[in-house]
């Protein structure tokens, strides 16, 4: 079993999907969380000047989705066929723009601009996205085929952030609600959700 070392800040942010996937696969790893003060020293040692990075037997991988996909494969959660895997990839990539707008809203420091962005997000951005994804999710609660894949877990992670600001976002979405339920009950994930450090974002 290779040694896995994840390095990121002490936040969920772009690292949490990776941590959730390690948890789902019950794969041991070192979960290194650095302080902002330590970042300038580490930065030039990373492939692209960014974290998260994953060290696997001495090799360093960066880019959170590349790392997440690698861990998903190790956890057996990539999708059974190339086509299933492509579907999972497409559903993940489809959430990125919405994720970016949510992030912009959360990071907005000006209170009145933030309120505007929150209104826009909650009324214009989120509803069509969820309606679209309700259609993508099967009524069995899986986005791809008939079993759990990393796209279910990625959706859970995204909604974990979004429902902190919009608690009733998933009301009325039966399939999406099922996806969330199933992910939360994955033993490794249930355990991680209980034990993980509490961070603002």
């Amino acid at each position: 079993m290779p040694a896995y070392k994840l390095t990121y800040f002490n936040v969920r942010g772009r690292g949490e999907l990776i941590r959730l996937l390690f948890a789902a696969g019950e794969i041991p790893y070192e979960d290194v969380r650095i302080e902002s003060d330590n970042w300038p020293e580490l930065k030039p040692k990373t492939p692209m000047g960014q974290v998260p990075i994953l060290e696997v037997d001495g090799e360093v991988i960066c880019q959170s989705m590349a790392i997440a996909r690698f861990v998903a494969r190790e956890a057996g959660l990539l999708g059974k066929t190339h086509l299933d895997q492509a579907r999972a990839d497409m559903l993940l990539d489809g959430g990125i723009d919405v994720g970016k707008l949510f992030e912009e809203m959360v990071m907005e420091k000006d209170a009145s601009k933030k309120a505007e962005k929150k209104k826009e997000f909650g009324e214009k951005t989120l509803p069509p996205f969820l309606a679209l994804y309700e259609g993508f999710a099967g009524d069995n609660g899986y986005f791809v085929g008939y079993s759990l894949t990393w796209s279910d877990i990625a959706f859970f992670n995204m909604m974990d952030f979004i429902t902190a600001e919009f608690p009733s976002a998933l009301d009325g979405y039966c399939n999406l609600t099922k996806v969330i339920k199933i992910v939360k009950r994955v033993p490794g994930i249930a355990k991680w959700l209980k034990e993980r450090p509490i961070t603002d974002n």
């Binding site: 692209m48 991988i61 895997q85």
Partner: protein, 200 residues
């Protein structure tokens, strides 16, 4: 062998790399190129209201990188091990980050702002990116291992797209990256494809 039908506009844009991947892998595909006027009718029939889309035996996949990864896997260009696959993905994701910056100046409607953005891109953003990528490519002209992968093809594709928008060859002085470009253009499938693409 499944049947592949790729749909996009005529230009290089986001599908250029996908067509190159089919060419590199020697994989037959239907290369559908639509006019702008046809797009409103097609749009609601796509999974997310965007193209490119790839139809594989009736299933439709959207999102450029999802499609790229699928074709790369079929063409044997997605890395030989899980670790190599992650390395390919990481290079492609970094190129995607650069592409976001390119789209930003590309769609800028104010001509003065656009020229300012292009200047910033050409003088700061791109050189910094290429310095990083020169170190990520190896001396045999590959980003991952010692054979052509989607990472190399994607890099070439983006540089090819950029060359009409920049005054000089941005790869000048970058030995490894120049070799990557040479490796891609000398791949027989890609060479034949580029000959056809650029001859009209």
């Amino acid at each position: 062998m499944p049947s592949y039908k790729l749909t996009y506009f005529k230009h290089w844009g986001r599908a250029g790399v996908l067509r190159l991947l089919f060419a590199a892998g020697g994989i037959e595909f239907e290369d559908v190129r639509i006019e702008r006027e046809q797009w409103p009718e097609l749009k609601p029939k796509t999974p997310m209201g965007q193209i490119p889309i790839l139809e594989v035996d009736g299933t439709i996949i959207c999102q450029t990188k999802a499609i790229g990864r699928l074709i790369a896997k079929e063409a044997g260009l997605a890395g030989k091990t899980p670790l190599e696959a992650a390395q390919v993905d990481m290079i492609v994701d970094g190129l995607s980050d650069l592409q976001v910056k390119i789209v930003d100046f590309f769609i800028e409607k104010d001509e003065k702002k656009k020229q300012e953005k292009i200047k910033e891109f050409a003088e700061k953003t791109l050189p910094m990116f290429l310095d990083t990528y020169e170190k990520l490519a190896n001396s045999s002209g590959h980003f991952v291992g010692d054979a052509l992968t989607w990472a190399d093809v994607d890099f070439f594709s983006l540089m090819f797209f950029l060359k009409d928008h920049l005054p000089n060859d941005p790869l000048k002085g970058h030995v490894n990256l120049t070799k990557v470009r040479d490796n891609v253009t000398s791949n027989p499938g890609i060479a034949a494809w580029m000959e056809k693409e650029t001859s009209h």
